[in-house]
Amino acid sequence: MADNRLGITNESKVTLAANTAATVASFIPGAGLVLGPLISIAGGVIGNFFKNQDQIKKIKREMDQQLAKRYSQTVFGSAIERLVSAMEQMVELGLKPNTPEFEEVLEQKLYPEIGYKKDCNIELWNPGIPGRPETRFKQAFINNSGIVTNAVGSFDLNNGPLWVKACKEIKTSALQHWAEQQQADILFQKSLEQEREDAKRKTITYLLMVGGAAILLSGFIIRQKKKLRAIKLKIKESKNA
């Protein structure tokens, strides 16, 4: 393993040891001329081997870091997704977004799940080990200005502004939805009133028409009765004559 603090790798240790041994061996009478170079060559081979091992380990480490970052981003993305559905639910329950009551209820609902606090602040929960809720930990704190503090592990600091932007957009959308619902309710009430007024108007119009017809018919009946009386009188007079 490489000691990264001092930048000393296994390869450099072996090379140094081999070169030192080679230098010392070269002073041995007779065999020194052969032993020195051989030790140096062997040192080079072993050093190269360790260098390759370190390279493989580095690749594996980078892959693990990439996986950890992906996981961290998935947790973050899931938190934003929760925000959308939760706000929709609050709006459907009749709460107006961007009010203290709305924020209170939203925090009560989402803090245990994702760590949401009022006004787009969040202490982002990491799930921890399944079956052991005590292993949950706070991955980062993001305030409503987008500043990330207390970030743990491979949490991307660029997520701060992303979170704030997403949170505000979701709230705006929720407020718009709430306003549309209110408008729809008002329009519905108006349409019912309109319907009632229309029905009343139609009934009055019908009654006026019936009244007019009744007056005409009554007038006709009265006239015919008078005529009948006159005819009866004339018949009676002609009989008397």
């Binding site: 001329l33 052969v34 170079p37 051989l38 060559i41 080079g44 081979v45 190269n48 081997f49 390759n52 390279q55 493989i56 690749i59 594996k60 892959m63 996986l67 992906r70 996981y71 998935t74 947790v75 899931s78 938190a79 997704e81 929760r82 959308v84 559905s85 929709e88 639910q89 799940e113 799930p127 921890g128 080990i129 399944p130 949950r136 519905f188 019912l192 319907e195 009632r196 029905a199 009343k200 139609k202 009934t203 019908y206 009654l207 028409m209 019936v210 017809a213 009744a214 018919l217 009554s218 006709f220 009946i221 015919q224 005529k227 009948l228 005819i231 009866k232 004339k234 018949i235 002609s238």
Partner: protein, 212 residues
């Protein structure tokens, strides 16, 4: 001199052998690195597939819940609803309630015991057996589905209330209109009958007058 020449040849040979070993080691490292990269790429693809599958299974929570609501069987968030949801989701998972579940791999319909466990998921986003990334995905999608079911239920209730209110208004105004039409019709009919009777009497009297 011969001895020195032998020594030089030995050193040269060792140097060549050393170089060959280094080249071999480097080639092996390059192959290993390439294999690791390919393995990693495959792993990423598998993780993405697993996430897709998790999202698909989570969508079943909403569709099954909506079926329960449409049949008027229970309200979301109640113990009855959770029990019914567990039954509806049994082909895909052992749903333990509140988004805790043991999810199966997709399998053909087979004999009992052929289902293979994909992963055990918790409400907090933890997961065992499946890739860790699927845990938060499941938690978010499942909880969203339950919230969406609540929204679906509430909006259904609101629509029903609106319909009943509209029906009330229509029945009220319709009844008034019907009464007015009935009364007006009866009045007109009565007056018409009277008019016809009177006219017939006038005609018969005129005929009697003409004969006399």
């Amino acid at each position: 001199m011969h001895k020195n020449f032998g020594q030089a040849a030995g050193v040269a040979l060792a140097s060549v052998v050393g170089s060959l070993i280094n080249v071999g080691s480097n080639v092996w490292t390059a192959i290993k690195a390439d294999a690791l990269a390919q393995e990693f790429q495959k792993k990423i693809e598998n993780i993405d597939s697993a996430k897709e599958y998790t999202m698909y299974i989570a969508s079943k929570v909403f569709s099954s819940g909506r079926k329960i609501i449409d049949l008027g069987q229970a309200r979301p968030g109640t113990a009855t609803f959770e029990r019914l949801l567990q039954k509806e989701l049994s082909p895909y998972m052992i749903y333990k309630g509140l988004c805790n579940a043991d999810i199966y791999f997709p399998t053909n319909q087979g004999a009992l015991g052929t289902k293979k466990l994909f992963g055990s998921f918790t409400r907090e986003g933890g997961v065992s057996m499946a890739y860790p990334e699927t845990g938060p995905v499941w938690a978010a999608k499942c909880k969203n589905a339950l919230d969406d079911l609540d929204v679906y239920y509430i909006s259904g209730q609101k629509d029903r209330a609106k319909f009943e209110r509209a029906e009330e208004v229509m029945v009220g105004t319709g009844g008034l209109s019907l009464a007015a039409k009935f009364g007006g019709g009866v009045l007109i009919l009565a007056l018409l009958m009277m008019a016809l009777t009177t006219q017939r009497r006038v005609v018969s009297k005129l005929q009697a007058k003409a004969e006399s």
